[in-house]
Structures are given as C-alpha cells and as structure tokens.
Assembly symmetry: C2
Homo-oligomer: 338 residues x 2
DNA sequence: CCTGGCACTCTGTCCCGCCGAGTGCCAGCG
DNA sequence: CGCTGGCACTCGGCGGGACAGAGTGCCAGG
C-alpha cells in the first residue's frame, strides 16, 4: 500500500505531465506543488512508485512519466470528475437545443464534445434494440412489391423493399398494416418477434405467404440495424497528439475509420456509468497509446447508446470525464423531449 | 511558347518529383529519362521553365520542384488519364456490386476510392434536386400531428414531423395522401412546387390550413436536403503527406470536417467532365497545398452528385484521375440498376 | 524518516567543418 | 544558333565534439 504522500506525488506527476507534456522531475514537483518535503524525499517516493510500476523514465536521468497503470490509479482513486461550470452547462444546452432532428442532434453532439474536450469525439446513434416502435408503414409500390417503413421513437426511419410471393391487394395491405401496428406500436424492438409470431394465422391462406415475408423482413430490419451507426468528429485535434506524429496518429485514424472497431470499443465499455479505458486496456492495438472515455446516454433513465472521446493517454481525465458526462446528460434530455 | 523538349523536361520533373518527393536536379533527370541531351542543356531549359513560373527551387542550389502552375500545365497538356487495368476494373465492379442499399453504395465507394488512390476520398450522396419522388407517405401520430415521409428513387428516405394548425381526420389524411402521390410520384423534385401549388383548393375550408402546412413542410424538405450530405474516408492516408506534418495536415482535417467547405468545393467544380483543382486554385485556404480531383456521377447520362479525392499537390495525377473516373462510372451503373 | 550534498549520467543543442548535389555561366564546337 | 563540357560557387545535410542543464541515486547526518 502506498502512503498518502506518495499518492499525492503520483497525482502531481500526472497533472504536471498532462500540462507540460514533458517528463517531470523531483525538483519541479516540489516547486509547483507544495508537498512540504524536499526534492530528495520526492525522489525516494518516485523510486518507490517506479518499483510499483506507476511511473517510468523514458531514459536514465530523465524525469518520470505516468504509466498506464499510473493513470489508472489516478482515475480510480486520485481524481474526481470535474463538473462543468454553469456557463459551460448553459452553452451545452443552448447548442443542443437548436437541433432539428435526430441526425442533427448527433451531429451537434459530436461537434460539441470535440470542442469541449479538444479531442476526437465519437457518438453512437441511438440503438434500435432498446428503443420502441412508433409506427410501421406499408406501401404498395406494385402488385407484388411492398415497401416497409419502420419509424422509431427516437425519430429514426428505416425502410426495406419486400418482394411478395403473390400479389397482395390494397385491402389486405391495409388490414395487415392495422393489425401489425396495433400489436407493435409502442413496444420494444426486442419484444416484436414474440408479438407478431402468430399474425399470419388471421389471414386468408393465399395471403399468408406474403404476410410471412413482410414479417420476416421486419424482423431482419430489427436485427440488421444492430449494426449500429456512429459519427465521429474533431479529428483535427489529433494534430495535438505529440511529436512522434505519423507513427502514433496513423493507426488511430485507421481505427476511427473502422466503425466495427469503434463499435466494439464502445460495446466493451461498461453498460452503466462512465468507462475509462487507458492505453493498453484497449483491445485494439492501434489504440494502445490512446484512452477512451465513454458513457451511455438515453432518453429515459436507460441508456440507448454510447458516446465518448478518444484522446492520448496523456489527457485531462477529470475535465474530459466532466464534459462527457455533462454532454451525455443533456443529450438524454433532448431525446426525452422530442 | 515552350519548345517540345522543355515540355518533356517539365513532364519528367513532375514525374520524378511525384515519385521521389525530392527536388530533382538536371543530372538525375538525364539519367532517368533519356532526353538525348546533356545535363547542361537541361539546366538551361530548367532556367527557362523557372522564369516562366512552372518550377521553383526550394533554395539556391537545390533541385527544382513543380509549382502549381507547373502541375496545371502537366495535367492539361502533358499527361493523359491513365486507364485502369482490366483486373482493377473487375475488382471495382465486384466490390461495388456487393452493396445492399444506398448507404452501402456510398460507403463502399468511399473505401474503394481511398484504397485505389491512397488518398482521402469524398463522395457526395446523390442529390435530391435531380432525383424524383417515389412516394410520399403521411402518418397520423396524433390528432394534430402528422409525420411526413419522403421516399426518393435513389432509395433515400427523409422524414419530418408536422404540427398541424387544426385536427386532421384519417379520411382527410388518406385523401391528401392519395392526391399528393398522384401528382408528384415519379416527378422530379424541382417540379414538385409547381405541381402542388393549387392542391389545397380541393379541400374543405377547415382542412386547408393543415394541407398548406404539410405542403410547405414537404417543399422545405426538398430545399433543406440540398444541404447535401457526404461521406469521407481514407483520412489515414494523410499521414503520407509530407514531413512538415502537423502544419499541413491540420487545416486539411479541419476542412474535411466542415462539410460546408467540402460541398462548396465540389460545387465549384465543373458540372461535366473531370475537374482538377491544384493548390491555390482551391478557394479554401486550408487546402492550398492540396489538389482536388472530382467528377460528377449519376444513374443516367446525367450527374446527380459528385465524388473525388483530396491529396497533396504532389500526387500521381494520371493514376488518380483514372481511378476517379472509373469509380464514378461504375457507381453510376450500380445506381442505374437499382 | 527526512534532508542536503555530491558525483554521475544522459539528452538536447549548438557549433563547426566537410561532403555532395546542384547551379549558373562561359567558352568552344558542330 | 543551339548544345556541350568545364569550372567555380552555393548551400543544405550530416557527423563529431563540447557543453549546459536537468535529473537521478546514494550516502551521511539530523
């Protein structure tokens, strides 16, 4: 167990290193933080912290920098979440309130997060899985061709074309539309399969095939759309990454383009509360020198999707976490209102 | 007027510089291209080319590099468009054929372009302006609340919420839906305003306000959606930009995030044929050290949107132009089929 | 357990000199 | 008149050496 002062030293090292981007030495530490002890003492503490793996030296006789393990301890025990100031909160709210539709909400959220944190922002579109059906519309485009439109409570619209096995009259279509909506409107997506299971039985034999086809397309849509979309922004902030540029930035840009990677990344994060993944804690190799701060957001108390930022492990964790949390909260409110 | 040989020298300089990324000198030129003359002669030619502003020296006694003006001449007069090889064409076709919907087509196109050119790819979604209406759907969500869904022939779906000035019955809604579709289905977006102008007149007085509201929302959607969307990819290729990294790359990343800038960029490009904007020819300052190669694409003979790539002025113009042209052609085919 | 002192180790940087690539110019040649 | 070889000059890049500064580890004393 580390003594209280050693923890303070670690905290000071993290703070200074985040601020200056340079390895921090014992003398500078005692000058900038009044620890009440001499540099020599701090040196002993640093040696201990290094033994434990919390900090490291780039080379002999250089200052120390925190390791991933050091940041982890810092985040878990030494630093809180820095709340946004009142003006900041107002600014967030104003900015998000201007959104006109779901796309706009997501787009604004990305911009906002990127600006607030000066890092790369990632926002997942509200997931279908946890949302509910507002309406299902069926349109006859040709005798044996139906367009299926699915509208969700988060304002998202998905459409699919259905080729029917047999011609399907307007009357039957209207009938199906009515029955379908009465069963699934307002229900959760996950419940839909169960709810429509026996629906074909109420129809004429010659229409059953078509009904079944439409239903299976609907279910397909629900599943497929779990291949969720996301939006990223603030990549220009990557230029503030470090000096050893191309090498660090390249894999990050690649990762950001691979939506699959990002979705997995967000998916792995805990479902409730804020998750911080530091450096090598990220499964994807290209992100080993970055940290990901993410949190779920949603219209009710329940999270429907996640958002977060990707930045260098050397980031201002309290500030970033504060911004991420605040933005998630307000986005949730906006979604609940609309 | 420049002599034939001087043009050859310019061409050789561009080719070598693009290949090596290093200023090219007279000796190296005579060795790598058999111009049939001595370095001294080439030096005289280079001096002339420099006087005319086609090439420049980074410092006294260094080799020459092409200027924007030099690239311009190269593109206009000295180099053709390098056609894709047969296997490449097959690969393009195979890759694009796998797409399942419009989003997928665009996404695949971006990836493909980025890979082929090893640069940043930009693909504009097919514009609504030039496409036609497939169907307009109206859904009653509440007595005085209607959802408007617009489906285009390119498979795009847009939806808007409409708050009506007065309650609107199901029967009226069905009536409006039917009349609206009979007028606009299959018509071009640009014709819609004219076609629906007198529609409210056929309705009861108490419904006219609502009908007008719905129509104006529809028209709004058409206009607003001219704020067209686009997709970009291959930003990781920016890392191959040059040595003076952060300075060059930052404004480019910023420009890429500003969809407005990009749309303007594509919009400024000529409507027919391929457009190449080199360095300072780009109005946006952040892109002064990049070139933009763009071309329209579309399902018929007509362009419905544009696509292109953004790369360093020092790029392989013939190859890039060939790839851009080929991709645009195949995307057009895909759109025509679906 | 903390402190001041001391010797040691590195890195980053500046300076210098050299090398090589490239140039411009000129006189000569076909 | 245009091409060529030769020549003197310029300049950036690179390697070596010296130096300063920051930081460390260790030790003896309070």
């Amino acid at each position: 167990m580390l003594s209280e002062r050693r923890l303070q030293v670690l905290r000071a090292i993290v703070q200074d290193y985040v601020g200056t981007e340079e390895p921090v030495g014992s003398k500078a530490l005692t000058e900038r933080h009044n620890l009440g002890v001499s540099p020599a003492t701090v040196r002993n503490d640093m040696a201990a912290l290094e033994d434990e793996g919390y900090i490291a030296q780039p080379h002999t006789s250089a200052g120390r920098i925190p390791t991933d393990k050091g940041y982890r301890l810092f985040v878990d025990k030494l630093a809180g979440v820095k709340p946004m100031s009142a003006p900041e909160r107002r600014a967030i709210q104003n900015f998000l309130d201007g959104a006109v539709d779901l796309d706009d909400v997501v787009a604004r959220t990305v911009r906002l997060l990127a600006q607030l944190t000066r890092q790369v922002a990632v926002v997942q579109y509200p997931s279908l899985t946890r949302s509910t059906v507002r309406h299902v519309e069926l349109l006859s485009l040709a005798p044996a061709r139906v367009m299926l439109v699915l509208i969700t409570d988060t304002g998202r619209v998905e459409q699919r074309m259905v080729d029917c096995p047999a011609p399907f009259g307007e009357a039957s279509l209207a009938d199906l539309r009515a029955r379908l909506n009465s069963r699934v409107a307002g229900r959760r997506f996950t419940d839909v399969p169960r709810l429509v299971e026996d629906l074909p039985e109420g129809f004429d034999v010659e229409d059953r095939g078509t009904v079944a086809t439409v239903l299976s397309t609907l279910l397909e849509t629900l599943v497929e759309e779990n291949e969720e979309r996301l939006m990223i922004g603030g990549t220009a902030n990557l230029t503030r990454f470090g000096h050893d540029f191309p090498l660090t930035i390249r894999p990050v840009l690649e990762a950001l383009e691979e939506q699959v990677v990002l979705l997995k990344l967000l998916g792995e994060a805990g479902d409730s509360g804020m998750t911080v993944r530091i450096g090598h804690e990220n499964a994807y190799e290209g992100l080993n020198s970055t940290s990901v701060v993410s949190v779920g957001y949603g219209s009710g108390g329940e999270a429907v999707a996640k958002l977060g930022v990707v930045g260098p492990t050397r980031m201002d964790y309290p500030g970033t976490m504060g911004a991420v949390r605040a933005v998630a909260r307000y986005v949730g409110q906006i979604l609940a209102e609309s």
